[in-house]
């Protein structure tokens, strides 16, 4: 994994930056060059809210090699308070207690370690609000 690939995504993974269409208000995460709703090409940079609720989730037991040490781990889709949906791991909880509709906060975490060189990739994870 070349560092440039990780570096390119830093505004989204580290700062939750999204593009808001200045014509129709559609929020693109990650940012896009053209709005899929109205076709406009002007966006303003916004920061996503850090809270939302779980729409669906799964507990992964057969994991890709860079995640085998963490299995079983939960991955979910959350809808944030502004309606944006995104996918991330659900951390800091017993996976049996995860429920659809559960409120979560987005926190900055280490997500994975790449290959034998061990480049660390950071990003966001969902953490249950009651923790």
């Amino acid at each position: 994994m070349f560092p440039s690939r990780i570096w390119r995504e830093k505004a989204q993974r580290y700062r939750l930056e999204a593009g808001k269409c200045t014509t129709c208000g559609y929020i693109a995460f990650p940012p896009r060059l053209i709005c899929p709703e109205c076709g406009a090409r002007e966006f303003e940079t916004i920061t996503l809210p850090d809270t939302g609720k779980i729409l669906t989730y799964t507990v992964i037991r057969v994991a890709p090699s860079q995640f085998t040490d963490e299995a079983p781990y939960a991955v979910g889709i959350a809808e944030l308070t502004n309606g944006v949906k995104l996918m991330a791991q659900i951390a800091d909880c017993e996976v049996e207690k995860i429920k659809v509709g559960m409120e979560v906060v987005i926190e900055f975490r280490r997500v994975q370690t790449h290959g034998s060189h061990g480049v660390l990739s950071y990003g966001y994870k969902f953490v249950p609000k009651w923790y």
Partner: protein, 386 residues
């Protein structure tokens, strides 16, 4: 546009085929299709393959497969749309014949998946998802379909047993298919108690890793008549895409590309789902068959699981689905799957399905649905006995 028919089909035994190479798998199926059609040459060839590069380190299939098929200077191409590559090859060949550009075209599909470890296969398949916003977070393909399953269960009350009934039915059908990878029956209890992969999906909810190839010969209806083959006409072809990432979709419980591809195929054919006698659909996971059956309009949203449990999609049901055994039992060599569906549809329409899985009452019209990734691309075709 010219009327186009399928006049030849070829498919080898699918499974862990350690004794056959990537090229031999493809050429074997292609020769079977050529022999079945009774043609002595091809004008062109299009091959569906998801990722020969990651599975066996081999790209440039157009050259290799034309070379080993022994047809010098054959115009050939390889098309890719993840697990829908085969369906895309079928459509590409159909357009080429319908347009008048070529008269006799082979549409094939191939994937050699067992020359890498399970982890290597997981990596290769995950390239069909959004690398930076899904796979980065640890999502796998069973995981993505599990997210759809949980959403469907929450919204409609779909149950564990409903999912299992899809696997049981497909293995029942596949037990009668001599080319199936896993031609044996399984029980609801066996599915319910199998190893968890990504909750709620268990190993027996998942289609397997498979080596395999399939091929069909497409030509004009006029040439088909001269060849003296049964005329299985392509009357509808629909193609659609959807967002690459599952979380970008407005509704996690439907497959919009399937809905749109079906609409386009139905509009072209002048048919509705009520005119269809049976279907081969993309059951990469049990939940996929349930959602696809709803998105095609066979059943109302949320009713696909109940219908499967009641046997509506069985061989004797009101709308048989996956008489071949589906991806679940027949196997899922990703790039070949869409062509494998065509092989089964043609067998059923000719009345040639083996070992008692032939549908009664002479089915006339069939649909096949092949999708890539978590539904980011879909091909739907409608075939009819002319």
């Amino acid at each position: 546009m010219r009327d186009v028919a399928v006049v030849g089909i070829g498919m080898n035994k699918w499974g862990e085929i350690w004794t056959k190479s990537f090229r031999d798998l493809f050429v074997e199926a292609a020769l079977m299709a050529i022999d079945d059609a009774g043609v002595d040459t091809l004008d062109s060839m299009t091959i569906g393959c998801m990722t020969g590069g990651l599975f066996v380190g081999q790209e440039h299939l157009a050259s290799m497969m034309a070379d080993y098929l022994g047809i010098k200077n054959l115009p050939a191409s390889r098309v890719e749309s993840a697990c829908a590559s085969g369906g895309l090859a079928f459509r590409t060949a159909y357009i080429e014949v319908a347009s008048g550009m070529s008269d006799i075209v082979l549409a094939g599909g191939v994937e050699k998946m067992t020359d890498v470890s399970g982890d290597g296969a997981t990596y290769a398949l995950a390239t069909a998802a959004d690398q930076e916003y899904e796979v980065f977070h640890g999502a796998t393909f069973p995981g993505l379909y599990a997210l759809m399953a949980v959403a469907h269960m929450e919204k409609y009350g779909t149950t564990r047993d409903m999912l299992s009934s899809v696997a049981v039915k497909n293995h029942h059908n596949g037990s009668m298919n001599p080319n199936a990878q896993y031609p044996f029956k399984i029980s609801i209890e066996e599915v319910n108690n199998s190893v968890m992969v990504a909750s709620p999906l268990r190993i027996l909810d998942c289609s397997p890793i498979t080596d395999g190839a399939a091929a069909v010969i497409l030509t004009t209806v006029d040439i088909a008549r001269k060849l003296g083959k049964p005329i299985i006409k392509i009357i509808g072809s629909g193609h659609a895409t959807d967002t690459i990432a599952l979380h970008s979709r407005k509704d996690l419980t439907t497959l919009d590309a399937t809905r749109m591809a079906a609409k386009r195929a139905f509009d072209m054919a002048g048919k509705t789902i009520k005119d269809i006698d049976f279907a081969e659909v993309h059951d990469c996971f049990t939940i996929a068959e349930i959602i696809v059956s709803e998105s095609l309009g066979v059943f109302a949203p949320g009713k696909g699981g109940v219908a499967a449990q009641k046997g509506e999609t069985g061989l004797e049901g009101s709308f048989p689905i996956n008489t071949s055994g589906g991806l679940k039992s027949k196997g899922h060599p990703v790039g070949a799957t869409g062509i494998g569906q065509a092989v089964e549809v043609v067998k059923q329409l000719r009345g040639e399905a083996e070992n008692g899985r032939q549908l009664k009452n002479n089915p006339k019209t069939a649909l096949m649905q092949n999708m890539g990734g978590s539904g980011g691309s879909t091909l739907v075709h409608i075939l009819e006995v002319a």
